[in-house]
């Protein structure tokens, strides 16, 4: 069964460094999402992406964040200058398109900012 994959599974970085989290959505899916979950808290929406454009972003998704689909398979989340509070689990999700309802999640990337 097709699945969303994410790399790395765990990323440790120093405060102020840039990180890129990578996702490979399911191949025939058209809509992509990033969510964040700070340890012990609920899952929060960051951004949605369709047709090479951001569709919607939350107030969390400030100028330090960016997303890109550099080729036909990868979907990346970049954090330019990480802060301690960026430490969280980051989930990528994808959905096929119109008429479908279920977002499929990747296994997540645990980001630790020291």
């Amino acid at each position: 069964e097709p699945e969303v994959t994410q790399t790395p599974s765990h990323q440790v970085t120093q405060m102020g460094q840039e990180v890129i989290l990578r996702c490979v959505p399911i191949s025939n899916h058209l809509y992509f999402y990033w969510y964040r979950q700070i340890l012990g808290q609920k899952v929060e929406f960051l951004v949605s992406f369709y047709n090479n454009e951001i569709s919607e972003k939350s107030e969390i998704f400030d100028d330090q964040f960016s997303v890109e689909r550099p080729d036909g398979s990868n979907f990346t989340l970049k954090i330019r200058s990480t802060k301690l509070e960026d430490s969280a689990m980051y989930f990528c999700a994808s959905i096929q398109g119109q008429g479908t309802d279920t977002q499929y999640f990747g296994p997540g990337t645990r980001l630790t900012v020291l």
């Binding site: 809509y31 979950q37 899952v43 689990m89 999700a93 309802d101 645990r110």
Partner: protein, 115 residues
């Protein structure tokens, strides 16, 4: 804006017994989707069950079923014949029907299963 509320932070159930996890939501939309996701210690988000608001019939998936009360904006999850592997965090989530609509999650409930 839509909100999802899970007021019980923790629940416990005896193995083989039945447990119900509560969820309420708020929306002004008439059509939408509701979901329960399971998050085991690995922190993977696993879809348990989904419900389309325009369908009156409650969704069921094997031992998992929902009680969807649209007027009351309530969406509870019933787990029958609880198994040790059901122990996890469970999140209720809401989504509008637009193709690129985001999921809005509740705070989650930690379910423990006693052997």
């Amino acid at each position: 804006a839509q909100t999802v509320t899970q007021s019980q932070p923790e629940m416990s159930v005896q193995e083989a017994e039945t447990v119900t996890l509560s969820c309420t939501y708020d929306t002004s939309e008439s059509d939408y989707y509701l979901f329960w996701y399971k998050q085991p210690p690995s922190r993977q988000m696993i879809l348990v069950i989904r419900q389309e608001a325009y369908k009156q019939q409650n969704a069921t998936e094997n031992r998992f079923s929902v009680n969807f009360q649209k007027a009351a904006k309530s969406f509870s999850l019933k787990i029958s014949d609880s198994q040790l592997g059901d122990a996890a965090m469970y999140f209720c989530a809401y989504r509008n029907t637009g193709a690129n609509s985001k999921l809005t999650f509740g705070k989650g409930i930690t379910l423990s299963v006693r052997p």
